[in-house]
């Protein structure tokens, strides 16, 4: 009887109404292969640095995976394929708090621009703070940090349909 009680107590302790889930970054929409990448999966991709002037007025160094590399892995029409109708495609970046920002594919393609848009997981080689990580979009070279959004959870590629 005592055993059953202990078992029940253990069960109650381990079961909550809502189960914590492992973080996954989703890549969907006009892609060859939709992806759900864990933070571990992202470590297998190349890493780059990017500098961003934050809201505190200071320049910070971020490190992470180029968005280009993630989209390439998902089979998005980049590089030589980014021409013609594919130039009307966009990337919508969605964040955990519901915030959304949009970039055209040309804005992240190395054939069009030298700036490196990355999904950062570190700032000055330290993990991002809890309210901004685990992944923050870094769009360098802009006057405002408004597109460098926090807690990215999903990237959707679509066609501008108007």
């Amino acid at each position: 009887m005592k055993k059953i009680g202990t078992l029940l107590a253990a069960l109650l302790l381990t079961t909550s109404i809502y189960a914590q889930q492992a973080f996954k970054l989703k890549v969907s929409g006009e892609v060859g292969t939709p992806l759900e990448l864990s933070l571990q999966d992202l470590t297998k991709l190349p890493r780059k640095n990017a500098a961003l002037t934050d809201r505190d007025g200071k320049v910070h160094q971020y490190t992470g995976v180029p968005v280009y590399a993630i989209l390439q892995k998902a089979g998005v029409t980049l590089g030589g394929e980014l021409r013609g109708a594919n130039l009307s495609k966009y990337l919508l970046v969605k964040c955990a708090d519901g915030y959304e920002v949009l970039l055209s594919l040309a804005e992240i393609d190395n054939g069009f621009t030298d700036r490196e848009v990355i999904l950062a997981d570190t700032i000055e080689q330290q993990p991002l703070e809890a309210t901004k990580g685990p992944l923050r979009l870094i769009v360098p070279g802009e006057k405002k940090p408004a597109r460098s959004c926090f807690q990215v959870i999903e990237m959707v590629v679509g066609y501008g349909k108007e």
Binding site: I17, Y18, A19, Q20, Q21, F23, R55, D56, G57, A96, D97, G98, Y99, E129, A130, T131, K132, G133, F150, Q151
Partner: protein, 373 residues
């Protein structure tokens, strides 16, 4: 033989009549599109599913269902019991009571400008009104009635079959159709005639206090801390006075209600709730998901002076003071008054008196209330 011929002819004639009837009824089913009117500054990012266009007939049915008490156990409450028009479709209570007397776990939300709302409930667990409305209908702590019972009761009332026919092409009453009609009605609840709207349209000159309130509301704190700001606009900025965001707004550091975390299973969503519209906010007390603040003064005091710092607090509510010791906004008494003057500009008395949204079963209306049971 002649008799056989006669029967054969009858069958043919019958088939032709049935076919004709079907063709005629299809021809008759032409619901009239409902004209949703709103100012350009609300934008057109609204959400109407392709299989549920807003029609005059659907909205009319939805309005009746919204105020129909037969949809609850014991015919005690309708949607309109907890969502009262005069209070911008809230009920002034901390927690509304369901048909069985149970208080709800969270404060009743206002039904305002839902045409644009992409996340529903305090935790955003429904994305479409057609999905959202089904929950309170059958939830045991809300209207507490299985949908099959609701359908049977609506059929027995007699007044609904024709309305369903006009809205959906035939008189069948189904759960999906009930949800669709309710969603159609709710999409028409557009509030766009407040003092603030008249100001945006250049038809109203705000007082000095209101002007200062607007400046504080929209002011964005800068790194130097030399802009007086109440930091409202990241979440509540723009004519809609809300963005589709979930925020931890510093109410607690230990969370009795996990909020968004219960939906996503992510620790960083702890204590996050939807950013709600501020339109008609002066009518929708008490405030916050747990109704802890009874007045707008208490709400403004919270954001100004009592934000609880935790690792979950929204980054947009951090470092607002420009370096003062307590790291709070510390608005002055006059600044708080001005901010509240602006919030009162969002009250829309046209919206809360609009006959199109009122109880159709009330005295003097076209529909006679049928006593059920």
């Amino acid at each position: 033989m002649n008799r056989l011929k006669y029967i054969f002819c009858l069958i043919i004639l019958g088939s032709v009549l049935i076919a004709l009837n079907a063709a005629v009824s299809i021809d008759f089913f032409k619901p009239e599109p409902y004209q949703l009117t709103y100012p350009n500054y609300f934008g057109n990012r609204y959400l109407i599913p392709n299989d549920n266009p807003t029609t005059v007939e659907g909205v009319s049915l939805g309005r009746m269902l919204f105020y129909e008490k037969a949809l609850s156990a014991g015919n005690k409450i309708s949607c309109g019991s907890c969502h009262r028009q005069e209070l911008a479709f809230t009920d002034g209570k901390d927690f509304s009571q369901g048909a069985n007397g149970t208080p709800q776990p969270r404060n009743t939300m206002a039904l305002v400008n839902l045409l644009w709302t992409r996340n529903l409930f305090w935790d955003g667990r429904a994305k479409l009104l057609e999905v959202q409305v089904k929950e309170p209908l059958s939830n045991i702590h809300e209207m507490n009635q299985p949908i099959a019972t609701s359908i049977r009761k609506l059929e027995a009332l007699g007044i609904y079959s024709e309305k369903f026919g006009r809205a959906f092409g035939d008189t069948k009453i189904t759960e999906d159709r009930i949800a669709k009609a309710l969603a159609q009605f709710e999409r028409t609840l557009i509030s766009a005639d407040s003092k603030y709207d008249r100001y945006l349209q250049g038809k109203y000159q705000p007082t000095a206090s209101e002007v200062n309130g607007i400046a504080l509301f929209y002011g964005r704190p800068n790194a130097q801390g030399n802009i007086r700001s109440a930091a409202c606009s990241h979440c509540h900025g723009g004519p809609q006075t809300y963005s589709e965001l979930y925020m931890n707004n510093g109410l607690d550091s230990v969370y009795k209600d996990p909020g968004r975390e219960a939906i996503t299973g992510q620790d960083y969503d702890k204590g996050r709730f939807r950013t709600v519209t501020l339109r008609n906010i002066a009518l929708t007390a008490p405030y916050m998901h747990d109704a802890r603040f009874k007045t707008l003064e208490e709400v403004v005091d919270h954001y100004s002076d009592h934000l609880v710092k935790s690792k979950y607090l929204s980054p947009f509510l951090q470092n607002l003071s420009g370096g003062t010791a307590n790291n709070q906004m510390n608005l002055t008494i006059n600044e708080k008054k001005d901010l509240i003057a602006f919030l009162h500009m969002l009250t829309d008395s046209t919206f809360i008196q609009d006959r199109r949204f009122s109880d159709p079963f009330e005295k003097g209306s076209n529909y006679k209330k049928v006593n059920f049971n």
